[in-house]
């Protein structure tokens, strides 16, 4: 195809002929001082808090502080191009981001500008980044599961659609990995995912995007990126922008999942801005309203009532702790806002238990209702059993002689721990999870050496998929484990154990 120059020219000519310029009316002010992502502006007497303003270079800003004689503005972009005395124009609208289907599969900055080099984002709608959370009447209880595909999470700290589950832990304990596995597991589940990266290394974000793409998860995911090289204002608004993008789909009756990675960096960016505009510092120098900054963000996740379409927005905020200190300011704040937390421990991580979830203090306050019946049945006592095992393990380390019953409980525990390990980017279907946890708790792996449990599990799942698909399909279909199915499952497991042991002996004989 070739463009015809005269055709284009005539279109443009027509546009210009039809163009009637209106007088542009705006409120203006002048920049008094500028630096570190904020500007103080004199004038703008009609400015509203949160209003979007425009600098002559085209950079946008948001009114942050209204003072007696001046206005504090956070600059969303390059603040080095702004000089003292520049004219600032108010726009009369709140800061908004583009939303809609056009964003899916894209990597954008917190203002919705594309960062992936795939051309402009053709969104027709936009939404203010801050919007009130749905009220009481607009919500319904969380009761639909959001499968993370991670055995330890789905069995013991289940997450429901509309829930806010905090992922908390020290650096390098696999917090992002859990969030990524959850996103990858939403493939084909009609869940639109938004991954908000806030204050992360740009290389890490590139890695995340690559991992999502390689696992086919970019087809239903939006990545909002404000790496640590971006100015603090952009890092501060990134989570709100991500929430707005997800909210749009929620109000259309769709299911969404938002990952905020991570909110401690956002709090630090907010602290920087607040100190620069001279708001008084409080504990750990955070401003007094840092709690509200997070609560209003996380309150926006909801399971909407059926009248509103029944859409949902699940949040997985991430908080990084320093040396396991969960009693620091930001971690306690976010723990109290969320409906539970998944606590990751470096000790477990380095002991090879990955995901390094500490099942003792990880909880889910509302997810239990959302768990499938089958999972509830098999995982009911798992938490307590594991806690008892940890206690027993500590006791056994004293080197005392153990009776047979205690020893067998210990052996079972070792195998369960082994079973809950799961490699990255390999989320499991919930039916597979039910089968392997059932096999573990009922002792079908007791004859398997501890180091062979992972192999045995893999072979078991393959065996169930290929030879006993009717049992597996029944579990998927009913999402429950009724007595008849349980009998079938037992029979299948017995058959598998015989087969597995026979194969092992054969192998030994061959040697």
């Amino acid at each position: 195809m070739k463009f015809r120059a005269d055709e284009i020219a005539s279109v443009i000519q027509k546009e210009i002929e039809d163009y009637r310029g209106q007088i542009e009316t705006s409120q203006v002010g002048r920049v008094l001082e500028v630096g570190d992502g904020i500007a103080r502006v004199y004038g703008l007497s009609g400015a509203m808090s949160g209003e979007m303003v425009e600098f002559p270079s085209g950079v946008r800003g948001q009114v942050f502080n209204l003072e007696e004689n001046s206005v504090g503005v956070i600059i969303l972009g390059d603040y080095l191009k702004i000089a003292e005395g520049d004219e600032v124009k108010s726009t009369g609208s709140l800061l908004s981001v583009p939303v809609g289907e056009a964003l899916i599969g894209r990597v954008v900055d917190p203002l919705g500008n594309p960062l992936d080099g795939k051309g402009p984002v053709l969104a027709h709608e936009s939404r203010p980044i801050e919007s009130p959370a749905p009220g009481i009447a607009a919500r319904q209880p969380v009761k639909q599961p959001l499968q993370t595909g991670i055995k330890a999470v789905d069995a013991m700290t289940p997450i429901g659609r509309g829930q806010r589950e905090l992922i908390i832990g020290d650096r390098k304990t696999g917090k992002t990995a859990i969030a990524l596995d959850t996103i990858i597991n939403q493939k084909g589940q009609d869940v639109i995912c938004v991954y908000v990266s806030c204050g992360q290394r740009a290389a890490t974000v590139a890695g995340v995007v690559e991992a999502l793409r390689a696992n086919g998860a970019m087809d239903y995911t939006i990545v909002v990126s404000a790496p640590s090289s971006e100015a603090a204002p952009l890092q501060y608004i990134a989570p709100y922008a991500g929430a707005a993008m997800a909210e749009y789909f929620m109000y259309q009756g769709k299911h969404t999942l938002v990952v905020y990675d991570d909110l401690s960096k956002q709090a630090a960016a907010y602290r920087q801005l607040s100190l620069l505009v001279r708001r008084p510092p409080g504990r750990e120098a955070y401003p007094g309203d840092v709690f509200y900054a997070h609560s209003r963000l996380l309150e926006r996740s909801a399971k909407l009532s059926d009248e509103l379409g029944g859409g949902s927005m699940t949040s997985l905020p991430i908080i990084e702790t320093l040396q396991g200190d969960v009693s620091a300011y930001i971690p306690t704040n976010v723990i109290s806002i969320t409906d539970g937390q998944i606590y990751l421990e470096p000790d477990l991580f380095f002991a090879g238990v990955r995901p390094a979830i500490n099942v003792g203090i990880s909880v889910s306050r509302v997810g239990g209702n959302a768990q499938t019946k089958a999972m509830k049945k098999v995982a009911g006592g798992l938490r307590l059993d594991l806690a008892a095992f940890r206690e027993l393990e500590a006791f056994a380390q004293l080197g005392t002689e153990l009776d047979k019953a205690t020893q067998s409980r210990l052996d079972r525990g070792y195998r369960m721990v082994e079973l809950l390990k799961q490699p990255q980017y390999q989320p499991l279907h919930f039916a597979d999870q039910v089968i392997s946890i059932y096999a573990g708790t009922k002792g079908y792996f007791d004859t398997v050496p501890v180091e062979k449990v992972a192999v045995a599990e893999r072979e078991l799942l393959q065996f169930m998929r290929e030879q006993k698909s009717e049992v597996r399909n029944k579990i998927i279909e009913t999402a429950a484990l009724d007595d008849a199915t349980e009998e079938q499952l037992k029979a299948a497991l017995e058959e598998f154990v015989v087969q597995f042991n026979a194969a092992k002996e054969e192998l030994a004989a061959a040697k």
């Binding site: 310029g21 209106q22 542009e24 203006v28 004038g43 007497s45 599969g105 051309g119 402009p120």
Partner: protein, 200 residues
């Protein structure tokens, strides 16, 4: 570049000065103030430097005012200068003068309107703009005209913090963004022809 904090202080002094002058003749007082700035300070930069400097003590400044202004100025204005000297606010004099003029205009129902035009405006045009503005604004406008060839054409009128922009430059900017918005789709579909149909 004006400093809002100094301006707000100057406004307080200007207000007080006008109120004090109201018992006599405000216009005369303002004229005296302006002539002090034009005829005394402007012509004697050394005197201005001494008066506005922070290095000279306030007692010396008061003595200087008594000696230099006392015999010639009105008692009201001399007193006003003494008060300023005693409060260490003499460096605000130019600002106070400007603020008192503005305040007086405001009290007379007049306000400043900044006008920017691409080319010099003749007196007839200015008068026409003034009468039109007076008809549509709730006060009598006092025009401050500036020339700015970057506007290309049209006028930019600023009343307080509100700007009415009908300049050619702004209109061209609007037209440009509109044209670009319309053609975004064509640009993207043009790109799509070269990309893989199943995404990546």
């Amino acid at each position: 570049m004006e400093d809002p904090r100094a301006e707000s202080i100057a406004r307080v002094y200007a207000d007080a000065f006008l109120n004090a002058a109201a018992t006599e003749n405000v216009a005369d007082a303002l004229e005296e103030f302006a002539s002090f700035a034009d005829d005394v300070l402007e012509r004697n930069p050394d005197f201005e430097a001494v008066l506005l400097s922070g290095m000279v003590g306030r007692d010396e400044k008061v003595a200087l005012i008594n000696k230099v202004i006392g015999p010639y100025g009105s008692p009201l204005f001399t007193n006003f200068l003494r008060v300023l000297a005693r409060h260490d606010r003499l460096e605000l004099l130019p600002l106070i003068l400007r603020e008192s003029q503005r305040l007086q205009e405001l009290r007379m129902g007049r306000r400043r309107v900044q006008l920017r035009a691409a080319r010099p405006l003749g007196p007839a045009e200015l008068e026409q703009i003034r009468t039109q503005l007076a008809a549509s604004l709730p006060f009598e406008p006092v025009l401050e005209v500036q020339e700015d060839s970057k506007l290309l054409g049209g006028l930019v009128i600023r009343v307080g913090d509100t700007v009415y922009d009908s300049s050619l430059r702004t209109r061209l900017k609007q037209l440009r963004s509109r044209l670009r918005e319309r053609s975004l789709h064509e640009i993207q579909s043009g790109r799509d022809r070269f990309s893989h149909p199943e995404g990546d």
